[in-house]
């Protein structure tokens, strides 16, 4: 996963000040959330209608220029924020809703079911994420939910693997034995004793997967498998801009690219900061 590499780099960069990292990540995300919510007020033009001459370089009236159809790139990016968030959140939520319960149940029960399900999940995991998403997206056709679903399939194994391995350690903890000893049903043991103890790690994966799914979505749109144009979408805009790069129309690539990079960075920093928060390295020692 790309976000893993980003996180590694960030860790080296910030070393002791993980708090600062989380704050910067949070600020970036907060910025994009505000942009998404207030898109109608922020964008100067209708993003799906021409608002000036085509292929206009950045000027005062079009601060990020226009594309080949004369759409205002700034407005498209602003509206595209909504799409980025929507797909990322829906995809990650689907992956979590499937991956977490399956991981909990299979991890706790163990045995043969564990071996079978883990094998299935591992084979999905072993498949290159983007290619798998492409295959599913191609099968399902365009549309927000279809895209989200094809991205979700890629990330189900991430949840499953982390949850399952955590559950298999947690279930041998004495407090789980204690719960069995007081006569708790399996459903209650999993719900009240196992799940809360694996929850912190899911929060971290959640924000990490958000970053990854934005990248994947951009990738899908880049390949023309994403949202149907002219709906504003960063990946689609980036793909389109790429055709004009030989023409020296750099603004069509630069700004969508920057948007994708910064939001992914924001999620990654936030995730890394959270991770540090939940696994404190500098603790009390005697």
């Amino acid at each position: 996963m790309i976000s893993k590499e980003i996180r590694k780099g960030l860790r080296g960069l910030f070393k002791d000040s993980s708090g600062l990292m989380a704050v910067i990540g949070f600020l970036i995300l907060a910025f994009y959330v505000v942009v998404a919510i207030f898109a109608p007020f922020i964008s100067p033009y209708n993003p799906t209608q021409p608002s000036g001459p085509s292929l206009l370089p950045p000027t005062i009236s079009h601060i990020m220029g226009t594309d080949n159809l004369g759409y205002d790139i700034f407005s498209r990016l602003v509206w595209g924020t909504r799409m980025a968030f929507a797909i990322a959140l829906i995809a990650t939520a689907i992956a979590a809703v499937v991956g977490i319960p399956v991981g909990l149940l299979v991890g706790y029960i163990g045995g043969k079911i564990d071996r079978v399900v883990t094998m299935i999940m591992d084979s999905i995991y072993a498949f290159p994420g983007l290619i798998l998403a492409i295959a599913i997206a191609a099968m399902l056709g365009p549309g927000l939910l279809n895209i989200a679903f094809s991205i979700a399939v890629v990330y189900i194994p991430t949840y499953y693997r982390v949850i399952r391995s955590q559950v298999s350690t947690v279930k041998s903890e004495l407090y789980v034995d204690g719960a069995r000893a007081i006569g708790a049903r399996t459903s209650i043991i999993i719900g009240s004793y196992v799940f809360p103890n694996v929850l912190p790690s899911t929060i971290v994966i959640f924000s990490m997967n958000l970053a990854d799914s934005i990248m994947t979505e951009a990738g899908l749109s880049f390949l023309g498998l994403g949202i149907a144009p002219p709906t504003p979408d960063w990946g689609y805009d980036l793909a389109k801009g790429q055709q004009f790069i030989l023409n020296n129309d750099w603004w069509m690539v630069l700004f969508p690219g920057l948007a994708i990079i910064t939001i992914v960075l924001g999620f990654s920093m936030f995730a890394e900061g959270l991770d540090e928060y939940f696994n404190p390295n500098i603790g009390e020692k005697r």
């Binding site: 009390e284 020692k285 005697r286």
Partner: protein
């Protein structure tokens, strides 16, 4: 000259939620060929002192005061010199022998590493010879130098650790809870090994432990620690015969024993203080049956009585010889 002189040692840990005072103004000395037992419960600072003598405290620790080892100040020694002290002059064994040995290295090579760190030019034959002799002296067949750590039982592993620690003939051996993770019978075997070392070798030892009973027959001096303070210090016979500090007194009677005439369970009331928010005045006063008004307000100084030291207001104004 003493081998070791610790003066006003203060150690603090910097943590997220404020600083923890792990050791507060501890002073003691240790002579040549003397064995000291540093006794206390968890969080009393005994292990921290052990680590500070080798200057291997965690990075978030801050150390003040003086530790004079053969008149050199360990606190301010340059790193390079400190490295040459570790292992050769002062060495240490820890509670868990499994994690202290490299699991994928033959015992032989772990010995060689130790030699090479201090004598890079030593021949393998010679290293092998010395290692064999040390192992033999500690009750392990030298042929086992070829084995890996997992091929040893817990007690044997701790013997290997001891052999590794003494192979360079250090002047001071620090043993931090060396028998705590072992079974009762094996625990005694290891104590026997240490006792023999004490008799045969020209070496001082510091035994860090929570078990007053275990060290009674091996140490010359005892330091009792409570919540970062050295509350009592003196020679072993007088401390066990007539403990001065109320904590020591209570600790001694609350150890379960096997005497049939003694069936009543005695204990110290209350809990160990938190290092984050320690009680005012004497740290022991909330649990002390003799607590006076002054104990709740002022931290007692260390009083000297007949060459013994006790940090307790009960002994204010008592003269030598009383």
């Amino acid at each position: 000259m003493n081998l070791l002189e610790v003066r006003n040692l203060e150690i603090e840990y910097l943590t997220r939620d404020g600083n923890l005072k792990a050791v507060e103004g501890v002073s003691f000395s240790l002579g040549f060929h003397e064995t000291l037992g540093l006794v206390g419960e968890s969080g009393c600072g005994k292990s921290t002192i052990g680590l500070s003598l080798l200057r291997i405290l965690p990075i978030n620790a801050r150390m003040k005061g003086r530790i004079l080892y053969k008149e050199k100040d360990v606190v301010n020694l340059p790193d390079e010199e400190m490295r040459s002290v570790r292992g050769k002059e002062i060495s240490m064994i820890f509670q868990d022998p499994m994690t202290s040995l490299d699991p994928i290295m033959r015992i032989k090579n772990q010995f060689f590493e130790t030699f090479r760190a201090h004598f890079p030019k030593m021949e393998e034959d010679e290293m092998f010879k010395i290692s064999s002799n040390v192992l033999k002296s500690i009750g392990i067949d030298p042929s086992r130098l070829e084995n890996y750590p997992f091929e040893f039982s817990g007690g044997m592993r701790q013997r290997v650790m001891i052999a590794l620690a003494i192979v360079l003939n250090p002047s001071l051996l620090i043993a931090d809870e060396p028998t705590t993770s072992l079974d009762v019978v094996v625990q005694l075997q290891i104590m026997e090994v240490l006792k023999e070392l004490k008799e045969k070798k020209d070496m001082s030892m510091i035994l860090i432990t929570h078990d007053l009973g275990l060290v009674a027959e091996i140490v010359d001096k005892v330091g009792i620690m409570y919540a970062g303070n050295l509350v009592e210090f003196g020679d072993v016979n007088s401390i066990y015969e007539k403990p001065l500090h109320p904590y020591t007194q209570l600790l001694l009677v609350s150890i379960p024993n096997v005497k049939l005439e003694d069936m009543e369970l005695k204990y110290i009331k209350g809990n160990l203080p938190s290092l984050k928010s320690p009680p005012a005045g004497c740290k022991f006063h909330p649990r002390c049956p003799f607590a006076m008004d002054i104990c709740t307000r002022e931290d007692p100084p260390t009083f000297e009585l007949n060459g013994r030291k006790v940090k307790c207001w009960l002994y204010k104004g008592e003269k030598d010889g009383s």
